[in-house]
Symmetry: C2
Subunit: 204 residues, 2 copies
């Protein structure tokens, strides 16, 4: 670590390097959790040196925060910001079901997200970041629900912010059960579809 | 540790001792998490020796499982098994809101529960225990919902098992947000009341 000013503002890593490192962090967290995260393991996984990681991310905690931000930027719900031909109801359903996707990178990001929330109970330092990404997720979903109230695909008495907050909290709970192996992914998706219908669908 | 057969089936601790130890485990987990749990800290908190803990609980993992079982036995939802003068809807609402109780012991048990679920992602060994206590919780709530369908306090088209599973998963998600400091307890209670009304209440 000699000669590297780890307390100074970390330098931005070159784009490709940074992406490779953040994928490596998610992969290590998916195997061991945030609390089992060692910077050395991330360095080995990304094929870079540990001092380089400290140089770019400042600290282990900086690495965790960057991984959470990265998971947030790549969350399936970000698709809600892109116009689509689906109704808003269908777009919300597709986006929330995709959070329970079984592709390794979606799953790894779900573990990063769950771990960051669970760790925030004990690591006050993480709370502002968890709060910020959760609020961004909630705002995306609430906005799409608001559009659904306008396009008629969502019941007109639905309050977008409240419905979005309940639904994303339910998705977090379902992810936790699924990732913890106490509920199948199919069952989690079935329960989510039912809850969406009950919360948002216009009376038949 | 000499002379103590830690691999043998652990001896049952005398009732008072056992209770004091399990309260100490919950308290240590509430401060540091399961992954920060050291048997020595529990021993210090309970005022007993670490070898005594190994003697009674077999291992660190045995201690965690006993704490989860203890949290499950003391969960507010167990009150649903006792007949009450409330309608079933009111009883379910009271029991689930009580899971978000701010008393130190309720809060400590909520942390134990959340930590066990989060740790189950990485510790396969914990999964059967987490699954068992979750299913027991779900069955209690589903039974009460079934009674509500009969007594008319709950909508007659509600499917008790499905509704119970969604509601307890939502409660877990809300607890996680509240304990992680990214949602106030008041907001969590408000969202839960709204979800209960929408999921269970008969049409006005």
């Amino acid at each position: 670590m000699k000669g590297i000013a780890v307390d100074a503002k970390p330098a931005e890593a070159p784009r490709d390097n940074r992406e490779a490192i953040l994928i490596a962090v998610a992969s290590v967290i998916a195997r061991r959790g945030i609390r089992g995260l060692r910077v050395e393991d991330v360095a080995a996984e990304a094929g870079v040196s540990a001092p380089l990681l400290y140089y770019h991310f400042g600290s282990r905690s900086g690495l965790v925060k960057a991984a959470l931000e990265h998971a947030s930027e790549r969350a399936p719900s970000t698709a809600l910001r892109t116009p689509s031909k689906q109704s808003a109801y269908e777009a919300v359903e597709a986006a929330l079901l995709a959070e329970l996707g079984d592709e390794p990178d979606v799953r790894a990001n779900a573990v990063v997200w769950g771990e960051a929330s669970a760790s925030a109970v004990f690591e006050q330092e993480l709370r502002p970041d968890v709060k910020r990404v959760t609020e961004a997720w909630c705002a995306n979903v609430a906005e799409a629900i608001g559009e659904g109230v306008k396009d008629g695909s969502i019941r007109e008495d639905v309050e977008p912010d409240q419905a979005a907050e309940v639904l994303i909290t339910l998705v977090d709970g379902l992810c936790s059960r699924w990732l913890g192996g106490t509920m199948t992914r199919d069952r989690a998706c079935e329960l989510l579809r039912g809850a969406l219908k009950q919360t948002l669908a216009p009376a038949a």
